[in-house]
C-alpha cells in the first residue's frame, strides 16, 4: 500500500453506536464535500404506504424540535452551504457542500435533522401536494412512462424495482400521516447503519471530534438488513405501447431482469460487457450504428441502471421519431444478437479497459467525486482499498470473462419492449 493510495490517506472511524466515518484530507481548495447513507430507503416501505421513506427523508429539513424550516434554511443559505437528504430504493442518501470553515454548521444541522425531526403536519401537507404534482409532471415524459411500464411487465409488485402506477402512488401518498412518518423514522433511523464520508480541506481528527459531539450519544433504531432474493429472468419476449398525446419523439426501452448485483463476482466483467455494447451513444456499438451511421436517434444507451445492493433490470433505451420505431428495434436487436454470438473484440476490450481506468481517474478529480466513491465503496462492502484496486482489477479482465458475462446477463430472446409516445397503431 503506497502512501498515495486512497486506503493510506483515508481515515476510517467506527463509533461505538455503529456510525462509520471516513475522512480524506484534500487541502487544494477551502471547501468540503459530504456524502453518506442510512439504510432507510423505499425497500422498507410498508405494503400500503408507498412513498413513505421518501416523504420521511424529505421532511427532515422541514423543521426540528429546535428550529422551524425557514430558520434552518436561513442559516445554511446565508453561508452558501448545501445539505440534502433523499430516499433511494434501499438507502437514504446524504449530500452536502460548504466552505471548510462551515463544516460544523452542516454537520450540526444534519445532526439536528436526523436526531430531532419535528415532522410538522402543515409542512407534510405541502410536501405531499408538491410530490404529487411532481408525479403528474413526470407522467408527461415519454422516458419515464416507458421505463415505468417496463418494470411493471418484468417485475412482480413486491419487487423493489417495480414502479407503481402513478394513480396508485398518488392515492398512497395522500394517505400518509405524521404518525406514519414518526413510526417509520423510529424503526429505521439510527447510527447503526449510517456512513458519512467527508472530503476536503479539513483535519481528520477534528472531524472525528465534531462527529463524536454531534452523533456520539445517538442510539436510534438498530441497523436493518436487506433480505433480497434474485429476480427470475423472464420466459418470453413481450411488446407493449404507452399511448401519449402530442409527442414528436418516442422513447423505446428494451429490457429484462438483470440478476446482476455489485456483490456478483463477475460484476466488473458485466460492466465492461455493457459498456462496449452501449454505454456511450457516440462510440459504443449501438451508438456507432444506430446514431452515427444510420442517423435514427439522438441517444441510444444500454445499462444496468440499478445494479448495486440489488439487481434491477438490464435496459437498452433509445429515442426516435415515430416513423423510425420498427427499423430502430430491428437494428438494435441485430447488434445485440451479433454481440452475443461473437463476443467482445480484443480491440474493444483493450479500449474499454483504458476507458474505465481513465474515467475512474477523472471521476475522482473533485472532492464531491471522491466523497461519493468512498461512501459507495463502504456501503457496498468493498472498502476504500477498492479505489486503489480498481485499475488492476480492470487490467486483468480477459475476453473469456467478458464473453461469459455477455452470455450470462444479456437475454434479448426474452426481452420486453415498451414504446411510449404518440403512435399510429
Amino acid at each position: 500500500m503506497s502512501d498515495h493510495s486512497f486506503a493510506a490517506r483515508t481515515r476510517r472511524y467506527e463509533f461505538p453506536n455503529g456510525l462509520t466515518l471516513l475522512v480524506l484530507e484534500n487541502h487544494a481548495n477551502p471547501t468540503v464535500s459530504v456524502s453518506g447513507y442510512l439504510r432507510a430507503g423505499a425497500y422498507f416501505n410498508p405494503n400500503d404506504k408507498d412513498g413513505l421513506s421518501s416523504l420521511t427523508a424529505s421532511m427532515l429539513n422541514k423543521g426540528t424540535a429546535r428550529r422551524a424550516k425557514l430558520e434552518i434554511a436561513e442559516s445554511l443559505e446565508s453561508a452558501g452551504a448545501r445539505l440534502s437528504t433523499g430516499s433511494n430504493t434501499f438507502t437514504v442518501s446524504i449530500g452536502g457542500q460548504s466552505l471548510s470553515r462551515d463544516l460544523g454548521l452542516i454537520i450540526k444541522t444534519l445532526g439536528e435533522e436526523l436526531r430531532e425531526p419535528a415532522f410538522p403536519a402543515d409542512e407534510l401537507e405541502k410536501l405531499k401536494q408538491r410530490v404529487i404534482a411532481g408525479i403528474k409532471e413526470d407522467q408527461d415524459e415519454t422516458r419515464v412512462r416507458a421505463y415505468e411500464r417496463l418494470t411493471q411487465l418484468i417485475f412482480l409488485q413486491d419487487n423493489p424495482f417495480y414502479r407503481k402506477p402513478a394513480d396508485h402512488l398518488i392515492s398512497r401518498i395522500e394517505s400518509i400521516s405524521v404518525e406514519n412518518l414518526r413510526e417509520f423514522y423510529g424503526r429505521y433511523y439510527g447510527p447503526g447503519s449510517m456512513i458519512l464520508t467527508i472530503v476536503g480541506d479539513v483535519d481528520a481528527e477534528n472531524v472525528r471530534g465534531l462527529l463524536e459531539e454531534v452523533f456520539g450519544d445517538w442510539q436510534g433504531a438498530p441497523a436493518r438488513q436487506f433480505d433480497l432474493t434474485e429476480t427470475p429472468l423472464q420466459v418470453e419476449a413481450k411488446v407493449d405501447v404507452v399511448q401519449m398525446r402530442d409527442k414528436a419523439n418516442c422513447d423505446i426501452v428494451i429490457g429484462h431482469a438483470s440478476r446482476l448485483r455489485r456483490s456478483n463476482p463477475d460484476f466488473l466483467a458485466a460492466r465492461i460487457a455493457n459498456s462496449a455494447l452501449g454505454q456511450s451513444t457516440l462510440s459504443s456499438r449501438l451508438g456507432l450504428k444506430v446514431r452515427d451511421e444510420m442517423g435514427l436517434t439522438y441517444g441510444i444507451n444500454s445499462s444496468f441502471p440499478e445494479s448495486g445492493i440489488g439487481d434491477g433490470p438490464f435496459t437498452i433505451a433509445v429515442t426516435v421519431a415515430p416513423q423510425n420505431i420498427d427499423q430502430t428495434i430491428k437494428t438494435t436487436m441485430e447488434i445485440v444478437s451479433d454481440y452475443l454470438t461473437n463476443g467482445i473484440r480484443e480491440d474493444e476490450l483493450r479500449d474499454e479497459k483504458s476507458s474505465h481506468t481513465g474515467a475512474f481517474k477523472v471521476g475522482l478529480a473533485t472532492n464531491a467525486g471522491m466523497a461519493s466513491q468512498i461512501a459507495s465503496a463502504e456501503l457496498l462492502g468493498l472498502g476504500v482499498q477498492y479505489l486503489d484496486e480498481f485499475p488492476s482489477q480492470i487490467a486483468s479482465m480477459t475476453k473469456e470473462q467478458v464473453d461469459a458475462a455477455i452470455r450470462k446477463y444479456l437475454h434479448p430472446e426474452v426481452a420486453t419492449t415498451v414504446i411510449a409516445g404518440t403512435i399510429n397503431q
Binding site: K126, A133, E141, R245, S283, G295, T297, V362
Partner: protein, 429 residues
C-alpha cells in the same frame, strides 16, 4: 518564444499565439492528475439568419464526423479515441458561442490539443455525413418538442426578440435544419473556425512551459482567417408594449413564463441583475419560493438573468400547482417584482445573496471542468475577466442599485408573458 504574454490575473495567465492570434488561458491546478481543455469559438446562433437557423449547432455535430487524421475508417473516430482514454468530452452551441471540450488524465493532454487543433480547419463536412447527422439533430429537436416548458420558452424568446437573432432557438427551425445544404455549413466553418476567433483554455495538472509548447506545436501552423470575421449589427428596438400569448397542447401542469429585456453582459447593471436572480429564486428563503411555493400556488419557480454579447432577457418561470389559475400566479409573482421598485432589499438579505454567489464560485474551483466552463462562458460573451471579477462586481452592488435596476427594466411595456395551458383530453380520442 511563440507567445506574447498578455496578462496574469487571479492565478490565470493569458497569452496570445503570435502566429495566428489564438487567445490562450492557462490555469494550473495540481489537486488531481487530470486536465480540462476547451476551445471556445465566438460563433453561435446569433450569427445565423432565416434559411440557415440551427447551422452552427449542426456544424458542431459535423465536427465529430472526422478529419483526414481522426476518422472511423482509420479506427481513430473522434468520440471513440476520447472514450478510450476515459475522457469526459462533448461540445455544445448557444446564442453567442460554440465550445468543444475534454477532461481527461493529464498524460493525454496532447491528444486533446492535437484533436482540437486538427478539427479547427481539417474537418470533412461531407454531404453524406450531413444527411445522417441531420436526422440525429432532428431527433434532438423532437426530444425538445416533447417538453411543453421548452416550447413555451422558445415562443417567448421568438416574441420578445422580433429583429435580433436571439429570436430563433439555437437548435434552429425544423425546416431549416432539414433543408440547409452542406455548402452552407462549410461556408460557416470557413468563416468562423479560425484561431483568431477562438480561445483555448487549459485547467488542471500540467507543466506550464510544456503545455505552451504543445499548443504552439499543434495550433501554431494554422493561419489566421483570410478575411475579417464578419461582425453582426442587428439591434433589437425597444419593445413598446406588453406582449402576451398562450400555448395549448397536451400536458400535465400549467406554466407561466415572463420576461423583460435587460442589457448586455458587460453593462454596469449586470451585477445587480445577477443578484436579483439569486434573491428571487435560489433556495427556500428566496422570494419566489416564499411567495409561490410556500403558499401552494406553484410547485416550481425559477428566475434567470440571461446575459449575453447583446442585450438578453430576465425570465421568471412558474410551474403551477394543479387547480391554480395562471392569472393568480402571475399576479403574485408581479407583486414580488413590484416590491423591488418601492422597497429596498434589506442589507442582510442582500449579503446572503452575495455569499451564495461567491461560495458558488469557490465550489466551482473544486473541478477543473467547472473552472474551464466558467471561463469559457465568459469568453463567449465578452472576456474571461468578467468571470474572475464577478465577486467584485456583485460585492459593490447596494440595495439602492437593486431598486433602481428593478425600476429601469421591470416595466410593463418591456414585458412578455406566456401561459402554457394543458389541453384537456377530448372524449373521442
Amino acid at each position: 518564444m511563440a507567445f506574447t504574454h498578455i496578462t496574469e490575473y487571479d492565478g490565470i495567465t493569458e497569452y496570445k499565439l503570435d502566429s495566428n492570434n489564438l487567445k490562450v488561458l492557462l490555469v494550473p491546478r495540481d489537486a488531481a492528475p487530470v486536465v480540462a481543455f476547451m476551445v471556445v469559438y465566438r460563433v453561435g446562433s446569433r450569427n445565423e439568419a432565416v434559411g440557415h437557423t440551427g447551422s452552427t449547432h449542426l456544424l458542431e455535430h459535423m465536427l465529430f464526423k472526422g478529419t483526414p487524421t481522426y476518422n472511423k475508417k482509420n479506427g481513430t473516430q473522434i468520440a471513440a479515441i476520447l472514450q478510450k482514454q476515459g475522457a469526459v468530452f462533448n461540445a455544445d452551441t448557444w446564442f453567442d458561442r460554440t465550445r468543444y471540450y475534454e477532461m481527461l488524465p493529464n498524460d493525454q493532454l496532447e491528444l486533446a490539443i492535437h484533436l482540437e487543433a486538427d478539427r479547427m480547419r481539417n474537418s470533412f463536412i461531407a454531404d453524406e455525413d450531413r444527411q445522417s447527422e441531420m436526422t440525429v439533430v432532428r431527433n434532438e429537436l423532437e426530444r425538445g418538442e416533447n417538453d411543453p416548458g421548452r416550447i413555451l420558452d422558445e415562443r417567448l424568446w421568438a416574441l420578445a426578440f422580433r429583429e435580433h437573432p436571439y429570436h430563433h432557438p439555437t437548435i434552429g427551425w425544423r425546416s431549416d435544419v432539414e433543408g440547409v445544404p452542406t455548402t452552407r455549413l462549410k461556408e460557416f466553418y470557413d468563416t468562423y473556425y479560425h484561431p483568431n476567433n477562438a480561445t483555448a483554455i487549459m485547467v488542471g495538472d500540467f507543466k506550464h512551459e510544456a503545455a505552451l509548447d504543445l499548443i504552439a506545436k499543434h495550433f501554431g501552423p494554422i493561419p489566421s482567417s483570410p478575411n475579417v470575421i464578419p461582425p453582426t449589427y442587428t439591434v433589437e428596438p425597444p419593445q413598446e408594449g406588453e406582449i402576451r400569448f398562450v400555448l395549448r397542447r397536451a400536458g400535465q401542469l400549467g406554466i407561466v413564463e415572463m420576461a423583460w429585456h435587460i442589457p448586455q453582459a458587460t453593462h454596469p447593471d449586470s451585477g445587480a441583475l445577477t443578484l436579483l436572480d439569486t434573491i428571487l429564486s435560489t433556495g427556500i428563503t428566496s422570494r419566489l419560493y416564499q411567495a409561490l411555493i410556500e403558499t401552494e400556488l406553484a410547485v416550481d419557480v425559477g428566475a434567470q438573468a440571461y446575459q449575453f454579447i447583446d442585450p438578453g432577457l430576465f425570465t421568471l418561470d412558474l410551474t403551477l400547482r394543479p387547480g391554480v389559475a395562471h392569472q393568480e400566479a402571475e399576479r403574485v409573482a408581479l407583486e414580488v417584482i413590484e416590491k423591488f421598485k418601492t422597497e429596498e432589499v434589506p442589507e442582510k438579505e442582500l449579503q446572503k445573496a452575495k455569499n451564495m454567489i461567491i461560495t458558488q464560485m469557490i465550489y466551482l474551483r473544486d473541478s477543473p471542468f467547472g473552472v474551464v466552463s466558467a471561463l469559457g462562458e465568459a469568453e463567449g460573451v465578452a472576456d474571461w475577466k468578467l468571470y474572475v471579477d464577478l465577486p467584485k462586481m456583485v460585492e459593490k452592488v447596494t440595495s439602492a442599485d437593486i431598486k433602481r435596476v428593478a425600476n429601469t427594466y421591470f416595466t410593463q411595456d418591456n414585458r412578455t408573458v406566456g401561459y402554457f395551458i394543458p389541453k384537456e383530453e377530448s372524449s373521442n380520442e
